[in-house]
Symmetry: C2
DNA sequence: GAAAAAAACGATTGCGCAAACGTTTCGATG
DNA sequence: CATCGAAACGTTTGCGCAATCGTTTTTTTC
């Protein structure tokens, strides 16, 4: 591996001249510039970012600590973050926390050892230790999706609006018995959506039975089981609200297993849009979260904070949009 | 930020003792070990991986240069790579080449500057410059999905088997006029699948009309347009083979726009499975690619090569599996 | 009990680079 | 034609660490 001093030797100049030519950090005469550039080419010199980072104590890297990176919701966010970072000259380390608080803390410490300039985190269901560590270490960090601590910059969906819009839609179609399949317990999104559901229903003058609320669905399999339970009730709901994409897939499985027609026998709607939702039956009525903007804004906020650690915290709630299709019909 | 020498001072030992305690690289008496560990805790020392990397000239990082990172096929592969790397103590930089050869080369050079230990690349449609650079720089690299150059280790799906199985299935159901929606031109997968399709059809004694083969579909929109063209033929195909997930979404859109029933009016099948394929209509007959294993094996191969640059190259073709559902019926 | 070997640890160097600091040259100024 | 200042470049240091080399002390051996 070649070094800057080999270039200097080949060009017959000093290392600082080479450095200044490469970084354009001070005036160098055109002849020497030419010499340096030719030597770089001739030798095949590739600057060593590691050494540069050590000297500058800044790496130009950010850590992405996200759960379930293959979930399309998160992969869209990751894609947007990558794009924005790339545009700003940063590069991202990708880590999957697998929603394990222990792993989450370890990953953050690992990223810290690697001296990332900042971290974008989708907090686990029990993120206290990780978040405390981040605060203590004064590492720039923004939280995405699960907005669980306003000691940080945060970007996510306006879950209250999302649920309220969905409930509005349901009530307009005369649904009163609505079952909800919530996500993983502890997640800020789960908590917010549960609370928003109760509030929105109450606002509509509808009493919410506890057994219509299904919490703790960590997987599509959980969601399937929960949906079976709801549909097996003496008085089953007329509609099912799936509070995320995994819950929806799981719910649809249970509905299929019971050979129910959507929306004739049961109405279905949920949160998280699918690219194919328009082309397959039942065509799902869904709230689309603005994944691209979430990712972009998260990266922007992080870059801002890296630039100024003392700026005021921001929490950004982006509006989701309802895509009315056909899976939610009139209540019987 | 604390350093190893501050720890040494606090513990009343030398920096080398601290280093050896932290890395367990030589015997240190229990008392000094205790002193060091206590000082680390007291000071809140976090080792600096950047400095360590400079000294060791090895960073413990790998670069992931992949296109369309939000495509579920790739995000599954990325997820598997991340998992395997993490298990082996490596961490991955995530980069989206966006299938742009210029960007591809720049990203690889950038990763090289960062002194990644190796690279996993899904080559673009015109990867020559990038691949030549990789060879010249002697950077460990494995190619995934698009197996375009056996100067490298490679891992992907056995596309010949995939297409042959699909064609077998079609012929069993008496389809003879089959339209195929191919992916992006230039991709090794596209080329292989096109060739395999012609070969498999010929093997069955079926002549393939050129206008049933639709190349150059870079997006779902392209695939929709291509499908419209196929369906608008005087003598349209009785079945459509979508050669990847984007092509399938696009094809289904066109089919819906024409209000055709699947499989009554037109049969459909393709490559790339979807998690929801069992629960929505039409239930798609698909070849599932082994994304998890592709990712895992790619990471394994890369780690092997990092360990021994002179080992023989390997090309691994993994078998896909056909999931027969209902979208492909008997030909009219 | 002297020599040798082993045990335990410390001082120092160099990884590749950016930039602070220093030096030389040359034209402008009084 | 001395003096100054600016232009152009070189010398050197230190970022934090691993590990080589070296030192001191203790233990073993005959």
């Amino acid at each position: 591996m070649t070094t800057i001093s080999e270039v200097a030797k080949a060009a017959g100049v000093s290392v600082s001249t080479v450095s200044h030519v490469l970084n354009k950090t001070r005036y160098v005469s055109p002849e020497k510039v030419k010499l340096v550039i030719e030597s770089v080419e001739a030798i095949g010199y590739i600057p060593n970012t590691v050494a540069r980072s050590l000297k500058l104590s800044s790496t130009g890297t950010v850590g992405l600590a996200i759960s379930a990176i293959s979930n399309p919701y998160f992969s869209d966010i990751i894609c947007a973050i990558e794009a924005e970072c790339s545009k700003r000259g940063l590069i991202a380390f990708l880590c999957d926390t697998q929603d394990d608080p222990v792993r989450e803390l370890e990953l953050i410490q690992h990223l810290h050892q690697r001296r990332v300039d900042g971290i974008i985190l989708a907090p686990s269901g029990d993120p206290k230790k990780a978040l405390d560590y981040l605060i203590r270490s004064d590492l720039p960090c923004v939280l995405v999706d699960r907005l669980s601590d306003n000691r940080f910059d945060q970007v996510g969906t306006d879950n209250v609006a999302a649920i309220r819009t969905l409930v509005d839609h349901l009530v307009t179609l005369h649904h009163r018995r609505v079952g909800i399949i919530l996500g993983q317990p502890g997640f800020a999104t789960t908590v917010e959506r549960a609370k928003a559901f109760r509030a929105a229903m109450t606002e509509k003058g509808i009493e919410v039975e506890d057994n219509l609320i299904s919490d703790g669905n960590r997987s599509t399999a959980d969601a399937t089981a929960s949906t079976h339970r709801l549909l097996g009730l003496k008085e089953p709901p007329t509609a099912i609200l799936a509070s995320n994409n995994l819950a929806m897939i799981g719910a649809m499985r249970a509905i299929r297993e019971r050979k129910l027609r959507v929306p004739a026998d049961i109405s279905v709607l949920g949160i998280d849009d699918f690219e194919w939702a328009d082309y397959f039956e039942p065509r799902l009525t869904l709230m689309a979260q603005p994944c691209d903007e979430i990712g972009r804004r998260a990266a922007d906020l992080l870059i801002e904070r890296i630039g100024n650690k003392r700026r005021p915290r921001e929490t950004i709630r982006l509006s989701p949009v309802l895509r009315v299709r056909e899976s939610c019909g009139e209540a019987a």
